[in-house]
């Protein structure tokens, strides 16, 4: 197979684009997709300081790499979830990446913020680990960004992540979730920072290829709790559809964003309050994070 651009031997075939690329031209293609995402959704301005949430995995480090290469002012945020060796190793990958690029890495420990690491939170709540974990991550990203004066947080969510989330929401017709799914969530309250996903046009195979070709040392092994996650089951289903019909995931997600999402946009916006305990934004009186911290404290 030959590179569509230069005719050299291709290293990656992108069936959904009916194309194959050599290493250099793939890296170009990848960066252009990120630029297109940033432009289309006006994710951030040239001079904005961007907080990049990094996990040590391929997606977030690939994203940070592209933004650094394009000259954006960025800092990394690593949330230490306290998940055994996985957290130790992923933290080390982020530190090494930041050091190699002379970039700032902010580290926040879930154990210090909530009183216990994710595995203990899982036991206390008797809920799937990803539920307490996801909640803590969203909360801490926003709070850290606010405290440090960032107006935008960028995460490494890719096309597969977004398509799997969409699939889950559609399967249960969660119209509320459908209205909120977007590559860019504007700030709807002075205490909510903008959240953007510049990799939403790139599949996880593409982000893995970019990380490999850029020799980014990322953690290949999964979080030990990822196995049972429903998002994985949805990804597997979507990948079988993709295999039978290249472009299925892309059309599903981008078609939704362009044509279906506006229909779910809510007119009656939910009123937002500030949490009585921590001051962060919530729809109730006390936010979910503070309630979780309270449960952990009582169980402790």
């Amino acid at each position: 197979m030959k590179c569509r651009k230069c005719g050299d031997r291709a290293v990656l075939e992108l069936r959904r684009h009916n194309a194959a690329f050599c290493a250099a031209d793939f890296v170009d293609f990848f960066r252009n997709q990120v630029r297109e995402a940033i432009r289309r959704y006006r994710m951030f301005e040239r001079d904005e300081h961007v907080l990049v949430a990094v996990s040590g995995g391929k997606d977030s480090l690939a994203l940070w790499d592209v933004l650094l290469e394009d000259g954006y002012r960025t800092s990394g945020l690593y949330l230490d979830l306290g998940i055994f060796d996985y957290s130790v190793e992923s933290h080390a990958k982020c530190e090494a990446f930041a050091a190699a690029h002379g970039a700032e890495l902010i580290v926040v420990r879930v154990t210090e913020e909530i009183g216990a690491p994710i595995p203990v939170i899982k036991d206390v709540t008797r809920r799937p680990p990803c539920s307490g974990c996801g909640l803590s991550k969203r909360y801490l990203m926003n709070r850290v960004a606010l405290e440090r004066g960032f107006s935008v947080v960028a995460t490494g969510h890719n096309l597969d992540d977004e398509a799997a989330t969409l699939f889950g929401s559609v399967m249960h017709w969660q119209t509320e979730a459908l209205s909120r799914q977007s590559p860019a969530l504007a700030s709807t309250h002075p205490k909510l920072v903008r959240r953007v996903k510049p990799l939403y046009r790139l599949s996880e195979r593409e982000t893995a290829a970019y990380a490999f070709l850029r020799a980014i040392d990322y953690i290949v092994d999964e979080c030990p709790f990822a196995k049972g996650a429903t998002s994985i089951a949805h990804k597997e289903t979507l990948n079988r559809m993709e295999d039978a019909s290249p472009g299925a995931k892309h059309n599903f997600l981008l078609g939704f964003l362009d044509r279906a999402r506006p229909a779910f946009e809510r007119v009656d916006a939910v009123p937002l309050n500030e949490c009585a305990r921590c001051g962060q934004v919530t729809t109730g009186t006390v936010c979910a994070f503070c309630k979780l911290a309270e449960r952990v404290k009582r169980a402790g």
Partner: protein, 66 residues
Amino acid sequence: MKVILRNPRREVEVHGNRRVKDVLRELEVLPETVLVIRGDTMLTADQMVGGDDVIELRPVMSGGSR
């Protein structure tokens, strides 16, 4: 040739020369879910592999709520 799979890490011997896509089919791995790595480069599905090759099929899926 030796094929390295991950999560959990394991190795399988595959005999004879064949195309990457046939190796994937034999091992029941969807092309969309892995990078095919040989040394410091990646291979497309139409490439021939065999002999003393060591091929890594690196999964690309990451999971959970992120």
